[in-house]
Symmetry: C2
Subunit: 323 residues, 2 copies
């Protein structure tokens, strides 16, 4: 019984007699044998590690992302290592170096890294395959999980317009995330369809954090002229900040002010009133991006991008304007 025969059995290779195969498997089980993945990696030139990178998303987004990747990796020999990196967009070179030094076989890129073309170029050059979560650019590159942010944002805006709102405000997300512009475009489409001039909309910058949502809402309330009756926030955290600031200013949601978020994060269901928001299937997107990445690692061609369905969840934070 040579080492090679054992190796063949353990790797499910053909050309081993069933009797031998059974015997090896029995002994391996009895000995609780675990092949040395490091030695295997040395010769196969694989570390059997995938990376998952993101910037600094909200806890529930991170958790769903990780759950999705791990779900697909369960019962595989691949492991996942977590690689948060700040300011991906500010220093793509450093980001790439960081990825390369981790000796990964592949990487799942969450926003905004999934849209850093310079990083994709470097990964291609280094022969490191990648999955991309919700990219806006070049959706044919890598294994992509797509979401139609523009359509989703348009539906959110339509919802408010259909309720009768005409004086609107928008709180933008981090501009380094391409999804922010895509969502803005969706709002604009809805405004145009209802004959609302974009100049009449109070647009304030933000960066996806609760604090930025609070600050933006304060600026909205400080603006001269009649105040808006509804706010479109580009994520839930900022929407919550807006509701809090509005309440402190004596405005109840949804009676005095309707608010729509984006993400369907945990917080959207826990605050009162429950937030009207757009659900992104982050878990499913992570599963399918990982699935695609595994295909690339198996030598298959780039899989077709998977478009995931968003869903407008109408809850308690939106109502028709008063009067």
């Amino acid at each position: 019984m040579s080492p090679k025969t054992v190796s063949r059995v353990l790797n499910d290779e053909p050309f081993v007699k069933d009797a031998v195969r059974d015997r090896v498997k029995a002994v391996a089980k009895e000995l609780n044998y675990q092949p040395n993945i490091t030695a295997k990696g040395l010769i196969t030139r694989r570390s059997f590690m995938l990376g998952l990178t993101y910037e600094r998303p909200s806890p529930s987004y991170v958790v769903e992302l990780q759950r999705g990747v791990l779900e697909r990796l369960a019962d595989e020999r691949w492991r996942m290592i977590i690689l948060p990196f700040r300011d991906v967009c500010a220093q793509p070179e450093a980001f790439f170096t960081f990825l390369r030094s981790a000796a990964l076989d592949g990487v799942v890129l969450a926003p905004p890294g999934s849209d850093e073309i310079a990083v994709l170029d470097r990964l291609d050059a280094a022969g490191i395959p990648y999955g991309r979560i919700a990219p806006q650019l070049e959706p044919g590159r890598g294994a992509c999980s797509l979401l139609d942010d523009t359509a989703a944002a348009r539906e959110a805006a339509e919802h408010l317009l259909t309720l009768g709102h005409r004086r609107l405000a928008v709180i933008l997300g981090d501009p380094t995330h391409r999804a922010s512009a895509a969502r803005s475009a969706g709002y604009a489409q809805a405004f145009a369809a209802h004959g609302i001039a974009i100049e009449t909309v109070a647009v304030e910058p933000g960066d996806f954090t609760l604090a930025s949502g609070e600050a933006a809402m304060q600026r909205i309330l400080a603006r001269p002229g009649p105040r808006p009756t509804a706010v479109l926030a580009q994520n839930d955290d900022m929407a919550v900040g807006a509701i809090t600031v509005a309440r402190d200013a004596g405005l109840a949601t949804p009676d005095d002010l309707s608010v729509v978020g984006f993400d369907d994060s945990d917080i959207s269901r826990l605050i009162m009133p429950k937030l009207t928001t757009v659900r992104q299937p982050v878990f499913d997107m992570a599963v399918s991006a990982t699935e695609g990445l595994l295909k690339l690692l198996a030598g298959e061609p780039v899989p077709a991008p998977v478009l995931h369905r968003h869903e407008l969840l109408i809850r308690q934070s939106t109502a028709a304007p008063r009067g």
Copy 2:
């Protein structure tokens, strides 16, 4: 210039002339050379991977835990892999097998795994060092980050008693987490100090989830006799569930019902009213458990356990009872 000399330079070993050292470093930099960690691992018998395991805590707890471990691992050659495992307590053997198959050099155990003595025994036998987050049992084993759950819970209960509450309810956490019993003991100490008979307290089981907090609150309200004026929930998610159910029953917090949580999770600051709760420094605990684990991996003796300070954060969900 032999490979060994290069190896010496790259590993900062002594006995290399400065001139040679400089030249090697320069060339390595120019070539963007990355040593093959797999080959190094094969001979040093290290995978340079640490695991972080937990059961299914709340997103903000997970994120803080991961941030802490990664913080300490930054600029180290160690990587972190995430190993969530359900039902640690129900199947410690399977849990250990899961850990072992990951080929880890060490592992950070979050509750309830940090209190699974059977698993610690197996890890010891396998020679895998570990850090433990907030264990209640055998605090001398492994690199421990401790928290005095009993004292923290006692302070939370004292706070309510000092406000004048006498009719109290408790919502318990998952009984497989030892912290749950420790917190209950703390409540009991405060009750005893104020002459409150434990039989007069409405104690309901829960499992740390929002839904279990809601269900527990429903049972509390359904009990015969005068309803409690305050609730001690063993974590924030359950506290939020209690507040929601109370509100639906026409009871405002804190006017009609005071509620105290535990954890200082994100949600505690986002809901209205903001939750009075106990802060656990999860991030710091993760940093110091990882720190201790690295010491063990360096061959140092078991470091002294580090006791972390909790803090009662009095916010808006507690007030004196009416009348």
